[in-house]
């Protein structure tokens, strides 16, 4: 399982990198998004991914003590925080890039004001 995840994360990072190196502003932003997504997947992977069962969801409402072993709720909480933050960042980056496009009057990042 880990191997499949590792390859996925690696692929997402690689493609994100490739996008970051484009001249098209929009693609650069996609690259940023992709890398953030990949980082989140990576975090989840670190918690140890098991095939989901009703027990492994870290919600205890349906259980009684002693609680069953769930997946690592810590990484989930971290990822949740990270998703929110990267969402804020991406939204800002989008608006910013739009403004940068307006000011510099081109989508080509190589032609921007130094």
């Amino acid at each position: 399982m880990t191997f499949a995840l590792a390859v996925t994360v690696g692929a997402l990072f690689a493609l994100g990198t490739f996008l970051l190196l484009r001249d098209d502003l929009v693609k650069v932003i996609w690259g940023v998004t992709l890398i953030s997504q990949a980082a989140n997947v990576y975090l989840i992977t670190l918690g140890g991914v098991t095939e989901g069962t009703s027990n492994s969801v870290p919600i205890l409402a349906d259980h009684h003590e002693p609680f069953p072993v769930t997946t690592d709720p810590v990484v989930q909480a971290l990822v949740l925080t990270a998703i929110v933050i990267s969402f804020g960042m991406t939204a800002f980056a989008l608006v910013l890039s739009y403004r940068a496009y307006q000011e510099n009057e081109t989508m080509d990042v190589t032609e921007w004001d130094q």
Partner: protein, 536 residues
């Protein structure tokens, strides 16, 4: 011991930021809130410093947020190192905000300038105080998010372009930090830094990946500190942001990167025995791996920053490059500290780091704000357009001269002690290797030569800045412009502070000494955090 003073600076900045946001419709009130809040922040920091460093029963303070015991809740730790960095931040913040009120256009101040400034302060403060790795990431992001806005603040083509580059690089940095933090959690099973220190010190844990992961995290820290080759964002971002905020960038946020490097690698991983094999450095710790990396980064920063500054057309650009170079000096000192296994030399090198950081914050703060005065007076900072300002305003010239001389490292100004201690550390490193160890001696000589080169370049660009601005025939804009005397007055007090830090260096030294002790005192750090519950 849950003493609320340890969290007080964070709360203060948070409260001020929120209040400033609420009273936005009353600009006067907003300014008052912002300035008063920053002063209040400084007071809480001063109290904290007193409690942690100078009081008779001084000791490090830990704070458990939300009643959860370490390592399960989030811990804040105020030890010598943290409060030293907080002090730097507080001083710069007070000057920056007071100067802003005068400097930033009245209408522009209303555009959320004050709340954002407070959130920037909040982010930096949180990063200095937190004892939790993921929490560090969160405060980093708070700080970054605000700095993005400030870089893009004026919204023209160059500002937005600079901000876009800055954002892209830092999002990469954020992703890498997430990878590193997550990896460290997976490897050590904890996010609490004290707990992590405890875990890695214990034998029997599989520590292999920690070296690579720490390198990942280092990328983020170096990006924040603006070390070569992560310095790319610095010149354009510094030129774009409002100058008081640039003073904050140079004085506080860059130091967050430096602080994080010291905290994580010296305090947390300082005791860790790791299976590293690095030729030339006799140590089996993580630092042995990081030492050459940080040294090379630092030396390249000195070279790139120093050379870059030489031919800049504008004052703010020149000082931006200078910042890269000066951070390089700091990094070299860290590198020396990491490369040695001798406790005394490590202490001296860390001391040099801290003193240089303090000096750089004050001096560069002064110079960036002075650049602001010039822009305010004549509307430009292009060296070609200004000239002969010395005759127009001798007092302002003296203030600037103090900053310039401190940057060069002329005694007895603050800058001298930074330079002196770094040379001292490098000299000791050389002395330790000169007999017998040819490789060690040669690398120490290389370090010394780069430091000398950096210092010479500093003289070159400082004189250039000085002569271009204050000497020479008066240009038209200088003839017609007026220097704002209140701004000069504010800066005058900062110049006096730069002089006083040098003349009254003893207490400053004591303070930094405590901070440097704390930086390597892993056991003390762990002990400060009282573990409860099942973790104990």
């Amino acid at each position: 011991m849950n003493d609320v003073i340890a969290i007080a600076p964070i709360l203060m900045a948070f409260l001020t930021g929120t209040t400033a946001l609420l009273v936005r419709s009353f600009p006067r009130l907003q300014q008052i809130v912002s300035v008063a809040g920053t002063l209040g922040y400084a007071v809480t920091v001063a109290t904290l410093v007193w409690r942690v460093v100078f009081a008779s029963d001084a000791m490090s303070i830990a704070y458990q947020v939300g009643e959860w015991n370490a390592p399960f809740g989030i811990t804040l730790v105020a030890d010598g190192l943290s409060v030293f960095m907080l002090t730097i931040t507080a001083v710069v913040a007070v000057y920056a905000i007071v100067f802003s009120v005068r400097f930033i256009d009245y209408r522009n101040q209303r555009v959320y300038y004050h709340p954002l400034f407070q959130f920037l302060l909040l982010g930096a403060t949180g990063a200095f105080l937190t004892g939790d790795l993921f929490n560090l990431f969160v405060w980093f992001e708070v700080m970054l998010m605000t700095s993005y806005v400030f870089v893009a603040f004026y919204g023209n083509s160059s500002h937005t372009a600079a901000a876009t580059r800055y954002v892209v690089l830092n999002i990469i940095g954020g992703a890498f930090m997430l990878l590193g933090v997550g990896g460290l959690y997976a490897t050590t099973g904890t996010l609490n830094m004290a707990d992590m220190a405890r875990t890695v010190s214990a034998s029997g844990t599989e520590m292999g990946p920690v070296v690579g992961l720490s390198a990942l995290v280092l990328v983020t820290f170096a990006l924040k500190a603006g070390l070569v080759p992560f310095q790319f964002w610095v010149p354009s971002a510094y030129r774009a942001a409002p100058l008081p905020v640039v003073a904050m960038f140079a004085g506080a946020t860059k130091k967050v990167g430096i602080y994080a490097i010291i905290r994580l690698y010296f305090t947390v991983f300082g005791n860790a025995t790791l299976p590293t094999t690095v030729p030339g450095i006799p140590s089996d710790s993580l630092l042995a791996f990081l030492a050459p990396v940080i040294l090379v980064m630092g030396m390249s920063s000195i070279v790139v920053g120093g050379f870059g500054a030489l031919s800049c057309d504008s004052l703010d650009g020149l000082f931006a490059y200078s910042s890269i170079g000066q951070i390089g000096f700091i990094a070299v000192a860290i590198g020396i500290a990491a490369a040695t296994t001798v406790a005394e030399l490590r202490h001296v090198a860390l001391l040099a780091t801290l003193i240089f950081a303090l000096h750089h914050a004050l001096t560069k703060g002064l110079l960036f704000l002075a650049t602001g005065v010039i822009r305010d007076a004549v509307g430009t900072t292009q060296l070609a357009d200004v000239g002969g300002l010395g005759e127009r305003s001798p007092v302002f010239a003296s203030v600037f001269l103090v900053g310039g001389l401190s940057l060069v490292g002329i005694p007895p100004l603050a800058g001298f002690f930074g330079k002196f201690l770094i040379f001292d550390a490098a000299g000791r490193q050389f002395a330790a290797h000169v007999t017998g160890d040819t490789f060690g001696a040669a690398s120490a000589v290389v370090v010394l030569i780069v430091l000398l080169l950096g210092a010479v370049l500093t003289i070159l660009y400082s004189t250039r800045a000085w002569m271009g601005t204050f000497w020479g025939p008066q240009t038209d804009v200088i003839k017609t412009g007026t220097v704002d005397s209140i701004e000069v007055l504010i800066l005058g007090t900062l110049a006096v502070l730069v002089i006083c830090v040098g003349l009254g260096f003893e207490p400053v030294y004591q303070f930094a000494d405590t901070a440097a002790e704390a930086a390597v005192d892993t056991d003390g750090y762990v002990k400060t955090v009282e573990f409860g519950g099942e973790g104990a």
